[in-house]
């Protein structure tokens, strides 16, 4: 009974919050709903949406990936550096690397029984450190890559990067709903012991999921480097908390098992409207981290499945 009720609440609440926010911001600045500003919103959302997509899958498993922003920054730097040398192969190579990094973190987590937040916490250090070592500061793309150029443009008012992000989300969502993999993710998040005993290859699923998170982070880094024309070792740093917040605010429980990518989409919109809204309303940028922090705590407290945590640490 509890699960049903909390699910209903966590579906309605985000929609309501989004509606309230949009209304509030439009009241401050009527131009908020214009085509131009919507495009800006979409551009701002692309990277966060990509990061949040991978994160959602990880959180449904009951884990967390703190390294997504670091991986994205690393990819932005590597792509910027590699385009002059590898041309069009730079982006696929970087994405492959990002996926491999994610998979590696998953393997360490599974084989060595290291909690996911520790592995990915270490990952922040590892991947940021490498990014910093490779490129002390902003690295402009010194060559031409048609894909990156395309990614930085828009058609009919829709930024291509945003379209990519939506397409990625749609693909993963379809996989979650149609493939056995999706149900196994939920089962592992809800009752891992049962899944294990039922023959679900839990280790493999976990590694795949972290690999997917790495891939999404790589895509986010690619989108960012396409948009700004240059890579930077800390380009995505400020996006970690908003992307996690988006997942949680959308209603995916940090305890795992419950959640969906559609909810994350909602969460991303809330987060971005907040971000843009703060700027438009003339509030100090300080309100962004303030709002995120509070929203995260409230969202987690509201959606947490209390029965599945015996002891809260």
């Amino acid at each position: 009974m509890d699960a049903v009720r909390s699910n209903a609440a966590s579906s309605l609440a985000p929609t309501a919050v989004l509606a309230v926010l949009v209304i509030a911001v439009s009241a401050f600045a009527p131009s908020f709903l214009s085509a131009y500003s919507l495009r800006v919103l979409a551009e701002e959302s692309s990277a966060i949406l990509l990061l949040a997509t991978g994160q959602t899958l990880v959180v449904i498993l009951g884990r967390i990936d703190l390294s997504t922003a670091a991986i994205a920054s690393l990819v932005s730097v590597l792509v910027a550096l590699a385009v002059p040398r590898l041309g069009a192969a730079a982006v696929p190579a970087a994405l492959l690397l990002a996926t491999a990094i994610g998979a590696w973190q998953g393997v360490v987590h599974v084989k060595a029984r290291v909690p996911s937040f520790i592995v990915t916490l270490a990952g922040i250090g590892l991947w940021s450190g490498i990014a910093l070592a490779v490129a002390k500061t902003t690295v402009p793309i010194a060559g031409r890559d048609p894909f990156l150029e395309w990614l930085g443009q828009s058609s009919w008012g829709m930024p291509h990067a945003f379209a990519l992000a939506l397409a990625t989300l749609a693909c993963f969502h379809a996989a979650m709903v149609r493939l056995r993999f999706g149900r196994e993710l939920h089962a592992i998040g809800l009752a891992e012991r049962v899944a294990l005993l039922s023959g679900v290859p839990v280790g493999r699923v976990v590694v795949l999921t972290f690999a997917a998170s790495g891939l999404c982070a790589g895509l986010a880094g690619t989108a960012m480097v396409a948009r700004s024309g240059s890579g930077n070792p800390s380009i995505a740093d400020s996006l970690l908390l908003p992307s996690i917040a988006a997942v949680l605010i959308g209603g995916t429980a940090i305890t795992g098992g419950h959640g969906s990518l559609l909810r994350t989409l909602l969460g991303v919109f809330i987060v971005v409207v907040l971000r843009v809204g703060v700027a438009i309303a003339g509030l100090a940028p300080a309100f962004e981290p303030l709002a995120y922090g509070l929203l995260v705590v409230v969202a987690v407290a509201a959606t947490i499945d209390r029965r599945s945590i015996g002891i809260v640490k």
């Binding site: 009974m1 699960a3 049903v4 709903v177 149609r178 493939l179 056995r180 993999f181 999706g182 149900r183 939920h186 089962a187 809800l190 009752a191 012991r193 049962v194 899944a195 294990l196 005993l197 039922s198 023959g199 679900v200 290859p201 839990v202 280790g203 098992g257 419950h258």
Partner: protein, 500 residues
Amino acid sequence: MNAVAIRAEGLRKRYGDHEVLQGVTLDVQAGEVVGLVGENGAGKSTLLELLAGVARPDEGRIVVRGAPVRWRRPRDAADAGIGFMPQEPSMVPGITVAENILLGREGAGMRFGLVRWRAMNRLADEALREIDPTIAPGAQTQSLSFQQRRRVAFARALAAGTRTPEAPVLLLDEPTSALDPDGVEALLRGIERLRARASIVFVSHRLEDVLRVCDRIVVMADGRCVAERAAAATTAQELQHLMAGRTLAVEMAYGRDRSHAPGRTCLELKQLTRIPGYADVDLAVRSGEVMGLTGATASGCHELGRTLSGIDAPQRGRMSIDGRIVVLRDPAHAVAHGIAYVPADRASEGVVGALSVAENLALADRTGWRIDRRRERAVAARWIERLRIATPSASTRVSELSGGNQQKVALAKWLAGPRPRVLVLDDPLRALDVRARRDVVDAIRAAALNGSAVLVIADALEELAAICDRVAVMRDGRIREDRSTSAATRALRVPVERAA
């Protein structure tokens, strides 16, 4: 007249839909050692937990030294002079022995939030000296051996008991389990030393220990006290007979299909060892055969089940399926080899409560990438009917079903997919009503008829007699008997617990 140290009156306790204690009344006189015996699930541990304040009774009351008490936390019972040594005592590893003994009630050892080490060690030593003077109160707990830690747990119970000026009441739940013979001896002698000035309730499955140190023995079965004997006036044989008091054998004559002959050996274990747990186990189960495995506490049969399921790895020995040796890396690997395991704890290991019946039934089916919801609904409908699972629909969450129906889902999950080569069931009939038992038993027999090699692990021989073709009995980690059921049911009423 001896005063009554502690008394339970009409205690009832229910966990979920299972009534564990059904009105227990028990007296412990001052200075008496009362033995409490019974099969697994009889309610002994629960009774002790209620007396120790760890849980609260749903009905009934507890009277301590003539005054009724209502405890809200374990601390209250300890403050009243009740010392409790739980079956799985846990010590906090990172602190000293003295701290563990006095944890939560340091008394003079802690004042104004500051630790006074000398007082702490002295207080702890008072209890420790009685049990094992060789252990220093200042020692780090993690440097102690397992045996030593058990003794510290005993000292902790004693320390609680001696808080008040009145004689302590000690509740000991299987204090000798997993101890080596020296450890058992030391513990029994400790009890004997204390009997003059303490009232003790001693729960154990080792009847010879109980007969040795107790004045009086109470037998529990199915949540009630069913018999009482003076220790000097009874034997282990009589106690066993009283413990098995249920008339299950009558219900269980389901009529087996004897015309069906089992096939080749499917599952074979040779010298399988995993200490602590079991050692040198040789077992063979044929396709189409239902084999039973039983034993009392710490007999090793449940541990063996967990090895077969891939949860724990054996330290030595070999396991083969259909003639090929298998080394199981993990449960998923076991499933890939065709081993299906239905665990004892159905709520946390058998079903995913938040998923629907249909989803649970599909969980073990690993054919294909995609989800075919229509097929799943058809499968669910079929098995809901076959096993008579009481559920509003196939999309009801399993957590809303009763325990018995959850068990049916946990079992059907394996029957709905490809035929398992080996089906291992741990305590499948526990807490099921008569009709549910019949349905589950039918399903188990059907699985065997279908060609699976079935192993049923249970605590009571009677439960197995009607469903199994053969029964193996384990004790203290080894197989003692292995014979066909007809011979077993008669012969095994003779006590098996003579030393091997």
